[in-house]
């Protein structure tokens, strides 16, 4: 019985200690960010954030998810700052009183990728014509289907092309997963998908430079993919670390960070192009 008592004392001690540790680390200039899968999957944050921590002394942790969910985490005050890419949704977010400052940091563009054989004949078409061709040929198209920034943009493109969202069509596959996972599904099923260029380059890199899926549609103005840092509205989230979030936002727009973003390359190509003002 004595040892049992000892054990319970030990356990409660451990629990108190672990609680104390969590509280303590939360006090020491620590920032929690929700971001999109593209900034994480490409390895950009793994490369960039150590510089931020070194230069500012602020520790940054991040969870990566679709932009829709990231915005929700901010709305619930579960994070302190957001790095997302869905400008219209971001503006509504601020108008609704959830976000405060929005700072454009970098961009790349969306592209439609597909098999080299290009069964639906997308090559040379503009984005609206390409989507019509996919629909007419009932070619497999993989959608993220997860309300991420990419998914939001894709839905907008269908609308622009005058096509009702093919939600229930058999050729329209909604993976519900991150961008790299969705590209991998497209490869397995020999289908098309829309991706940001950064994630596509990462995928090419993984395939040793010779990927089965290739860029078929690119270049329309509407395909621009803008990434921004969003701070939360202190009125909605009084406990979120607004000051530190602003510091992060400023740092991302600083010359040093902008240069580093521009220097981040795979296969010699830039994944994100800095454009902070």
């Amino acid at each position: 019985m004595k040892s049992r008592k000892c054990l319970s004392v030990l356990v409660s001690g451990l629990m108190v200690l672990s609680c104390a540790l969590t509280v303590q680390s939360a006090e020491k200039g620590e920032l929690m960010m929700a971001t999109t899968t593209s900034t994480d999957n490409t390895g950009l944050l793994d490369y960039l954030i150590p510089f931020f921590e070194q230069e500012t002394g602020i520790a940054l942790k991040w969870t990566s998810t679709g932009t829709g969910n990231a915005l929700k985490l901010g709305q619930n005050c579960d994070v302190d700052v957001l790095l997302v890419h869905a400008p219209p949704a971001e503006k509504t977010y601020i108008a609704n009183g959830f976000g405060k400052d929005r700072r454009e940091i970098m961009y790349n563009d969306f592209v439609i990728i597909g098999p080299k054989s290009d069964p639906a004949g997308l090559k040379g078409k503009n984005i609206s014509q390409a989507l019509s061709a996919i629909k007419t040929n009932k070619a497999f198209f993989m959608s993220r289907g997860d309300d991420s920034g990419t998914n939001k943009k894709e839905k907008l493109l269908w609308k622009n092309a005058g096509i009702a969202l093919p939600d229930k069509e058999e050729w329209y596959v909604q993976t519900g997963q991150g961008m790299l996972a969705t590209i991998n599904v497209s490869q397995e099923r020999n289908g098309y998908t829309m991706t940001d260029r950064g994630t596509y380059i990462k995928y090419q890199d993984q395939q040793g430079g010779d990927a089965p899926l290739t860029v078929l549609v690119e270049g329309d103005d509407i395909l621009l993919n803008q990434y921004s840092v969003l701070t939360l509205n202190p009125k909605n989230c009084p406990d979120a670390k607004y000051d530190l979030a602003l510091k992060f936002s400023d740092w991302m727009a600083s010359e040093s960070a902008q240069n580093k973003i521009g220097e981040f390359r795979l296969l010699g190509k830039r994944l994100f192009i800095p454009n902070a003002k």
Partner: protein, 228 residues
Amino acid sequence: MAFLVEGFLKAMELLINGDTSTWSAVSATVKASTGSMLVSLLTGLPCGFILGYFDFRFKRSIRTLLDTLLALPTVCVGLIVYAFISSKGPLGDMNLLFTLTGIAVGQTILAFPVVAAITASIIENIDPALKLTLVSLGAGKKNIILTCLWEVRFGILTAAVTAYGRILTEVGISMIVGGNIKYHTRTMTTAIALETNKGMFADGIALGIVLMAIAFTVNLSLSFLRKR
């Protein structure tokens, strides 16, 4: 097949070279699962004992409820815990979201019914003759209970191992409550999910092998205990 071979070689490489992110995932897994195991044993064993040993009203309904909870999907636990510990939730002030403690809370909810239900069954199935013998030998109530507990020690070990298996393999709670944060709340299972998501199958398999090695070590040490 190539994935498996490549994965195995990679697993050896990760472990031997002391890869920081792998070891941090191992340590996160061990920390969270140890915490949740201790709490679920400390609460589950007494509850299971009471349910199995004594007779009282609603006993059957509680057992049914407990058995239903055995099949609780981990993502549902993750969602429920998230709703409670989110900053806008009733326990938001405790700052448990995106921490290992938060994961441990969710895992405890998962493991508690396993420990309690299995313990209750084992206690129920104790040979009735044992109690009679003890009474006829003039044992007091406390001695009877202690002797019964000693008799079922291996059964309780089984309950613990089963619960540990459920905790070690879950991914829903770790992902939703922990947030898969590198070097902090990234556990073995969420790391495997992430690598697979990125199409890095060999890395996923490597981590899977490491996870199986942990499970194997735990089981081996427990069966060693049983032999003694």
